[in-house]
Symmetry: C2
């Protein structure tokens, strides 16, 4: 691989700069993305057409020297493949034709065969790997069981998570059954992505942070742990001499709003923990940095400001983590997906700052050591 900085940071190995990618980096803030989406006809068609998914996956890499690509897809492909009928209403977000709110609906759930019902995702992974041609690693991903359950029960987004929490509090047995099937589905889905070529995997627990302490651990984290335990986190890599070696596929868990539970998340079996911007990265490093790499955590709204301010805020994130000492790892990212309203110039300033400043930090660090 030409640039494996991202993978090395996740495994807490030394890197010469802090690697950087952006959640939702292939998205609506890019005119070229919108053009491809128009050609596809709809967001869902874009997800389901491997060539077009590959095209948009590569677009941000053509603009900026990002250190990773992430599969272009949606977290709701899994419940869609479970037969719930995903659709999108312009300006309203995702919806499901069927919701899962009772015993009978939970009983009907089954983990799909990812190479059949989610074949288009695996084809996209294979196509993207081919197109990337070893430039940077490809990240595969899934929603967390709890986050998927939120959408499956609510039938779409929610302000108060009333239906899914009602099920959790009134019928914890049913909720556990649902999460159990969903965790199997997520495990199979991520394993298939790894077999198809994903070089790292990330679990997006977008809604774990709406749970009370205690319930988060039982209803979200426990099922992510079960997923992680079921993953085959190894892949074969062919060296320049044709020899094959087995390398680790690092895993990242990101619970938005999970800052209070960092120690628990770090003990889930993942290699790295994603952080939103409410967490002080220096404190997070002190709490769990010796056990897992950390990914984050710039507020995406910083990118609404001018390049000079983007630079100042990015430097602050890098300074808070400091130079990664041996056994520590930091992947720069936003604390949430990039906004569709982001001016691309802000991303230019961000990428340049993170790469240049983190190299400079290491030089200063090395100079300090050799003095």
């Amino acid at each position: 691989m030409q640039n494996d900085t991202f993978l090395r940071a996740l495994l807490r190995e030394p890197t010469d700069h802090t690697p950087l990618w952006l959640m939702r980096q292939a998205g609506r803030y890019l005119p070229e993305y919108n053009a491809t989406r128009r050609r596809a006809g709809s967001f869902l068609a874009l997800c389901k057409t491997p060539e077009l998914a590959c095209e948009v996956t590569l677009q941000p890499l053509a603009r900026w020297p990002l250190d990773a690509a992430i599969l272009f897809s949606d977290i709701l492909t899994v419940p869609d493949a479970m037969g719930l009928g995903l659709y999108f209403v312009e300006g309203e977000g995702p919806k499901f034709r069927d919701t899962v709110r009772d015993e009978a609906a939970v009983a009907r759930l089954a983990a799909p065969d990812p190479e059949v019902e989610l074949r288009y995702v695996m084809d996209a992974v294979r196509t993207i790997r081919g197109a990337l041609d070893g430039r940077v690693p490809l990240i595969g991903f899934s929603g967390s069981p709890w986050t998927l359950a939120c959408y499956m029960v609510e039938g779409g987004g929610s302000d108060d998570f009333r239906q899914v929490k009602k099920m959790l509090y009134a019928r914890p047995d049913l909720m556990h059954r649902m999460l159990s099937v969903t965790a199997d589905a997520v495990r199979d889905y991520l394993n298939a992505q790894i077999r198809a070529g994903a070089q790292a995997v990330m679990i997006f627990d977008t809604w774990g942070g709406v749970l009370p302490d205690g319930h988060y651990q039982r209803f979200s984290l426990a099922y992510m742990r079960r997923v992680l335990e079921g993953l085959s986190l190894e892949r074969e890599e062919r060296g320049p001499d044709g020899s094959v070696r087995r390398v680790r596929v690092p895993s990242i868990v990101f619970t938005k709003g999970g800052g209070l539970w960092l120690e628990d998340i770090a003990a889930s079996g993942c290699d790295a923990v994603g952080l939103d911007w409410t967490v002080n990265l220096g404190q997070a490093r002190a709490r769990v940095g010796a056990r897992v790499a950390l990914q984050g955590n710039l507020d995406p709204m910083v990118l609404m400001a001018e390049p000079a301010q983007v630079q100042a805020e990015a430097v602050q994130v890098l300074e808070r983590f400091g130079v990664p000492q041996p056994g520590y790892g930091h992947v720069f990212n936003l604390g949430h997906g990039i906004s569709q309203f982001t001016p691309p110039e802000s991303v230019t300033a961000l990428v340049e700052t993170v790469h240049a400043y983190s190299r400079e930090q290491r030089r200063r660090g090395a100079a300090a050591v050799s003095r």
Copy 2:
């Protein structure tokens, strides 16, 4: 006062049970509230008619032996009084006719005279105090400067707080100016409520939790601290013999999503800290319970389940805090406003459980001590 348990818990004095009130306890889940609101014609008319505001304030107390009343009003009365033109669109939440997004708009802002522009609120406080007739204390409240600024800049609710964060990152000077005026307005507003008869005050920092660590402290907490420093937290109380003594008006700060910053909030000068349900109450007590009382923190969605489950979850909250030792105080509450979809029977179960179980806890605690 017949029942001052709430005030004593806030001041970390001994109580014979854990006092309880519910954020938004006068609200749409009560048929009698909806009837009064229909009579008023609109939510805003209800807020602006002291007799009707008094009527709905007392409604939950007629149903349940709650330990406090809270002024029925809206956090957005302050920017409304600043001339921004508050209105409500059914099903869409609050909106402002004018937004504050540039230098000129910020320059036009001035703290209103609460006895003039917000006279209807002070009249409501006086009316409610009269009607309560010393049964339980009356809580006055305001939005935090940052939370008010969110609405003032966005012009209503927001998913991403793009405009207000853009101002914060791009023009921190302007944001500080705006927060400074707003903090003066909040200070004057709360002081006027205290003069009108409020016996405790609470600052709702609903949107502090959307800020990054560091910026929260500078743009939200610093202005709440400034408000607290400017409050005259004393009132006169007439004893049964006609003698007058000066008593403290306790203050509560509630930052939703502020669990990571508990130590900072506890050092802001408030008497009590409100907690949402993501925080473990036992851990919060260990972190800051010797310095401030704690208020919270049941997930409001627990009330969607059956009474038996409500009971079990409420007991868990009480058990996590444990029996308040000398110098510790706990006020039971939800971690956010009660949902309009709450069955009133759930509140019945909650109130009975909190009162009975907390008395039982203290008896068991006392028995353990005397053995």
